[in-house]
């Protein structure tokens, strides 16, 4: 099934798109934006009340997350190994595991959970937590 991106959400070639597909596409965009340091994508997609708990325990609000993204494109690849999307009404929970390679050639994996809320006909990320074990 071909998926194209339109106004930040996914649409199938047949026109119909499920909310799960929308969120899966946004999840892929999220990862791509981390790799490319795409602050503009996060500026649009993160809710103002966004909170992220990083692996080291640091707690970032939206502005801190944008600053970190602008200065920290340290990964060159990130492959999504497992993605589980659960929908609860207007809320979607994305749980994923991925493997990464850094610019320095180090490899590792991470697990994360992102919470998306559907408001005013659009999805926003309101919460994220990342676990990045120090060793493989």
């Amino acid at each position: 099934m071909a998926i194209r991106v339109r106004s930040g959400v996914a649409a199938t070639s047949g026109g119909a798109v499920t909310r799960e597909q929308e969120v899966r596409t946004l999840n892929e965009q999220y990862i791509r934006s981390i790799l490319t340091g795409d602050v503009a994508w996060f500026a649009v997609r993160l809710a103002e009340e966004f909170v992220c708990i990083e692996s080291d325990g640091s707690v970032l609000d939206k502005s801190a997350f944008l600053r970190r993204t602008a200065g920290d494109a340290s990964l060159v690849t990130y492959n999504l190994d497992e993605v589980d999307v659960r929908l609860y009404g207007d809320v979607a929970l994305v749980r994923a595991k991925g493997s990464w390679t850094s610019k320095a050639g180090a490899r590792g994996f991470s697990r994360y959970v992102d919470v998306y809320v559907h408001e005013r006909n659009d999805w926003k990320v309101v919460s994220a937590q990342v676990t990045r074990p120090p060793h493989l």
Binding site: V51, I53, D56, G57, V59, R95, V113, V126, S127, T131
Partner: protein, 150 residues
């Protein structure tokens, strides 16, 4: 007549908005209390209470990337070689969106595990989902241990 209709409509809207706000506050209070109750149940090896709070498809991801199911946690709870002196959170924040709530908090764990002492803090986010049987703890994820305070 028209003015009276408009006033009536505005009054209805204000009532509806305040009802939603009140319901959200109630949900925050319920989830906050539930998460505190859950941490206490872990501390006291109260598997029965944990069983009632955890969703059947629950998953916990710890700071080292390991994933645990509900059955794993209940089994761990019955292992009394782990003794908690502290297993409480602070800086708890609860946010609610419809049928989903996210609790973020700083957890302090102190005690002994098979006779070996541990004492550390970590940040976690716990996701609760409203079910037909009430709020259930569906997903938890923890950070690495925070560096010890100097």
């Amino acid at each position: 007549m028209k003015i009276r209709f408009v006033c009536g409509t505005v009054a209805l809207c204000v009532t509806a908005v305040s009802s939603v706000a009140r319901a959200q506050t109630d949900d925050k209070t319920i989830v906050a209390a539930l998460d505190t109750k859950y941490q206490a149940a872990v501390k006291h090896h109260d598997a029965k209470t944990m069983d009632a709070i955890l969703a059947d498809d629950f998953v916990l991801v710890t700071g080292n990337g390991s994933a645990f199911s509900k059955a794993d946690l209940l089994k761990q709870s019955r292992d009394t070689t782990e003794v908690y002196e502290h297993q409480e959170d602070t800086q708890q924040t609860v946010r609610v969106w419809g049928n989903t709530a996210v609790v973020t908090a700083l957890l302090w764990l102190k005690g002994t595990r098979k006779g070996v002492a541990f004492d550390y803090k970590l940040w976690f986010s716990d996701t609760y989902v409203r079910t037909a049987g009430g709020w259930r703890y569906a997903f938890g994820q923890a950070s690495l241990r925070l560096p010890a305070a100097p």
